[in-house]
């Protein structure tokens, strides 16, 4: 029996602790309060969209897909914000944002394609972090330039993507 499931993810959340808010509150209590009260779900959904746009624009083998299919090519009925696929994995990965918690979920039938699905999830995660950072820096008044570099691992020959942002503002 094959089915589409919510996948385990190799996500490493940015390490942010309560001390960061406390530290900020000591300097700027109003801004700290603003951050705590901010509803970021719409921003997260927008970042998901932008991350998929950037992913598809920068990687020729990755495109949007109309549906998430299982091993038997049966479409999964779940609702997704975005669906991506690659040449090596055409069943598609559904990306959704939980409207209550803001949690990002990936859904796919990764049978026999675990490594490709992991590559796609990791790439999405990397682009999502870049988009989230862009949103944060824009809120703080920076002008931003984003860039991307593909480097080959000297040992394995595998391609790795390095994303970077350069942000600036007048003093």
């Amino acid at each position: 029996m094959s089915k589409v499931v919510t996948l385990s993810a190799a996500v490493s959340a940015p390490v942010v602790f309560k001390e960061m808010i406390d530290k900020l509150a000591a300097k700027d209590p109003q801004f700290a309060a603003l951050i705590q009260e901010m509803d970021t779900r719409e921003i997260i959904a927008e970042c998901v969209k932008s991350a998929v746009d950037a992913l598809c624009a920068n990687h020729a083998d990755i495109t949007r897909a109309p549906a998430v299919l299982d091993y038997y090519q049966k479409a999964f009925a779940g609702k997704f914000h975005k669906i991506i696929k690659s040449r090596a994995f055409s069943r598609g990965i559904g990306i959704s944002v939980d409207e209550k918690t803001g949690t990002i979920n990936f859904s796919a039938d990764d049978y026999q394609h675990q490594s490709e699905v992991k590559r796609l999830k990791d790439l999405f995660h990397q682009y999502f972090i870049q988009e989230a950072l862009k949103a944060v820096l824009e809120i703080l008044g920076y002008n931003i330039e984003a860039s991307r570099e593909v480097v080959k691992d000297a040992n394995t020959g595998a391609e790795k993507v390095m994303l970077s942002l350069c942000a600036g503002k007048e003093r």
Partner: protein
């Protein structure tokens, strides 16, 4: 001019490089960035990672496949 260069690696880890900041201003700015990012990402990705860890520990929802 204040500038910040950020690199995001394949594992999603970030490295910051601040220029034109002085002392505590730089620390405060980094705190603001991380706090805002935390509001956007930690509440989402960290929770996701936690749920996945719980899910993996259970294993019962993993798909069971049969040979064709």
């Amino acid at each position: 001019m204040k500038t910040i260069a950020v690199e995001i690696g394949p594992d999603g880890k970030m490295s910051f490089d601040f220029h034109g900041f002085e002392g505590e201003t730089c620390e405060t700015e980094e705190a603001a960035i991380r706090a805002l990012l935390g509001k956007m990402c930690v509440s989402t990705l960290a929770e996701f990672a936690r749920k996945e860890a719980e899910r993996n520990a259970g294993q019962q929802i993993a798909p069971i496949r049969q040979k064709q």
